[in-house]
């Protein structure tokens, strides 16, 4: 197969060359291999514990093409079940979310508890005694299901390393984000569900790309300038970090207001009081240094292969899956501290919508950029390479360099084409 013989990357640190084959975004063989080597061998975000507050709560979600029934069982334990009847395969739960004591497959009427265990089936007398106590009579759980600080992940690789180890350096950043409050965080009601006609890896890159902001989002910065005189706060700069295992983060100062906790004049005196209160709480809990990091720094955190947690003008959780080489579906949510005031919640959501999401002043332009990359890749047979070498060789690459993308692609390449890693030695282009 041509995909196995052509290098996916060209890397030469001495000459500061890092190139990515555009074929990686369009080739159906690579797309098929990614399902197996990336999505079936990683930890994938399923949902946040706060989405299922009560026993019996459930959500159905698609993760890497599988239908998952995410439940909190009658004992309060979270479960991730494959949403398929052990009898003849029909999807058991057909609703998006709700609360139920049990789930009945409508095809032949088998009934399962919220723990996935078979409770009853019509015509029980025709089955042997003990049929119900067989494990194979129950809805199957996903092979692996683990959580870190209320972020729940599944993996279809039974032998994958534990989630906490997989998270590597991303763990510390999740801690910084979760330490905004000691009252826990919740997903705010309302899911942004959209799509982009582009390869999923373009959104990975874009989500950790500090370089595109001023041109792609020119109109957003026009508006920001009229609503804040705090633009100096955005000139403090920042850095990009490789967090290991393909994860990466940008951490930087920015001019926008942060509900925890950077005030802007547009928020008035009420806002100032509220932000000061938030900030003082952080200082008393974490000391000034960590409080400043939590309150005044922004983080675009990427967890390999498809989870983005933005701790910016609002807190967002975003995950995405490809359904074709040139199409992805995206789900995004707002996350917020449980103990914030009505004022803070309102301004958080207001902030979110200004920049983010498919109706915001920025994200639609990202989508347009990604779709036009995908169009540009139609020339990939002749114009073969993307360049992501910006900042290579620097001791501390800045947040608008491209170290983060190199971290992603290096892990992608490692999983796609395990040793011998001929492609990574590469040659100068």
């Amino acid at each position: 197969m041509s995909t196995e013989t052509q290098p996916a990357l060209l890397v030469d640190p001495a000459q500061r060359i890092f190139k990515v084959a555009r074929r990686n975004f369009v080739d159906p063989d690579i797309f098929a291999a990614e399902k197996e080597r990336i999505f079936d061998r990683s930890w994938l975000y399923l949902g946040h514990s706060s989405e299922l507050p009560k026993p019996g709560d459930y959500i159905t979600r698609i993760v890497a093409g599988r239908g998952i029934l995410f439940t909190r069982d009658s004992k309060g334990q979270l479960r991730a079940l494959l949403n398929t009847c052990p009898h003849r395969g029909a999807q058991v739960c057909r609703e998006r979310k709700g609360n139920a004591k049990s789930f009945q497959c409508f095809y032949h009427g088998w009934v399962f508890g919220s723990d996935g265990k078979l409770r009853s089936q019509p015509g029980e007398e025709s089955y042997p005694e003990g049929f119900k106590s067989r494990d194979t009579s129950n809805m199957q759980a996903v092979p692996r299901f683990e959580s870190y600080r209320d972020f729940n992940f599944v993996s279809f690789d039974r032998n994958i390393i534990p989630l906490v180890d997989y998270l590597a350096g991303a763990r510390e950043y999740l801690d910084v984000i979760c330490d905004q409050t000691d009252a826990g965080m919740s997903i705010v009601a309302g899911s942004q569900e959209y799509s982009i006609r582009a390869n999923w890896k373009l959104l990975t890159e874009n989500s950790i790309d500090g370089y595109h902001a001023l041109t792609t989002h020119a109109t957003y910065f026009d508006i920001l300038m009229s609503s804040t005189d705090n633009l100096a706060a955005g000139t403090g700069g920042g850095f990009g970090y490789d967090l290991g295992n393909g994860h990466a983060v940008l951490e930087y100062a920015a001019p926008w207001g942060r509900p925890v906790a950077q005030w802007i004049p547009g928020w008035g005196e009420t806002g100032k009081t509220e932000i000061n209160r938030q900030y003082d709480k952080l200082v008393s809990r974490h000391g000034t240094e960590r409080a400043d990091r939590i309150a005044l720094k922004n983080r675009n955190l990427f967890i390999f292969p498809n989870l983005v947690i933005n701790d910016i003008m609002a807190l967002t959780v975003r995950t995405y899956f490809p359904t074709a080489p040139d199409y992805m579906v995206i789900n995004a949510w707002a996350l917020a501290p449980n103990d914030e005031t009505g004022w803070a919640r309102k301004y958080r959501l207001n902030n979110f919508l200004e920049f983010l999401g498919p109706g915001g002043f920025a994200s639609p332009d990202d989508a347009e950029a990604l779709e036009h990359c995908q169009r540009g890749f139609k020339n990939s047979k002749e114009a073969m390479w993307n360049d992501i070498s910006k900042g290579m060789g620097k001791d501390n690459p800045s947040h608008n360099d491209e170290l983060q993308m190199r971290a992603f692609w290096t892990q992608w390449n490692r999983q796609m084409y395990p040793a011998p890693i001929s492609s990574i030695k590469g040659v100068a282009a």
Partner: protein
């Protein structure tokens, strides 16, 4: 506003749709009152959800709606440059409630948007609160309830719905 007829309301809504289709957005903006709201909730929320406590796609006050129009008229609003072509059909117009200074109106819409050779469909219900002006209505609130499954495959709301 007890004597307003449905035909008057329809004329107003058809004209609004036409202004949007022609990208006469600054003119369209003058249809709104100073305290106006334009909102598009996420499709998994109840129709009366509040944007103060729920995540929407769009929750503009008059100021941000003005910014939206300003933005969309710039070349640097990349998602709409060059401008997409749209065609809006408004139907099933009903006056749902009447007060002295305001009527509540509901209609269904189907909006086709074409850009770069791809055509997407948006559909759903628009609920309005209209006030009486000197010679026309003005929009105090426009809430767009999308009927699709999220935004797939349209992907984004870069036009006004």
């Amino acid at each position: 506003m007890h004597s307003v007829s449905r035909i008057e309301v329809e004329d107003f809504l058809f004209n609004e749709a036409d202004l949007l289709d022609q990208w006469r957005l600054p003119e369209w903006l003058t249809l709104f009152t100073d305290d106006a709201k334009y909102e598009v909730p996420c499709t998994d929320l109840p129709p009366d959800a509040s944007p103060d406590t729920n995540l929407f796609y769009i929750a503009d006050d008059r100021t941000r709606l003005g910014e939206r129009v300003k933005r969309l008229m710039k070349r640097t609003a990349h998602a709409e440059f060059p401008h997409s072509k749209t065609s809006r059909i408004v139907g099933n117009v009903r006056i749902k409630a009447r007060k002295d200074d305001e009527i509540e109106v509901s209609c269904v819409f189907q909006t086709l948007r074409t850009k770069d050779g791809i055509t997407d469909l948006y559909f759903g219900t628009n609920n309005y609160r209209l006030t009486g002006g000197d010679d026309t209505f003005r929009i105090r609130e426009k809430r767009c309830l999308l009927a699709g499954d999220g935004l797939r495959s349209s992907g984004r709301i870069s036009i006004v719905l």
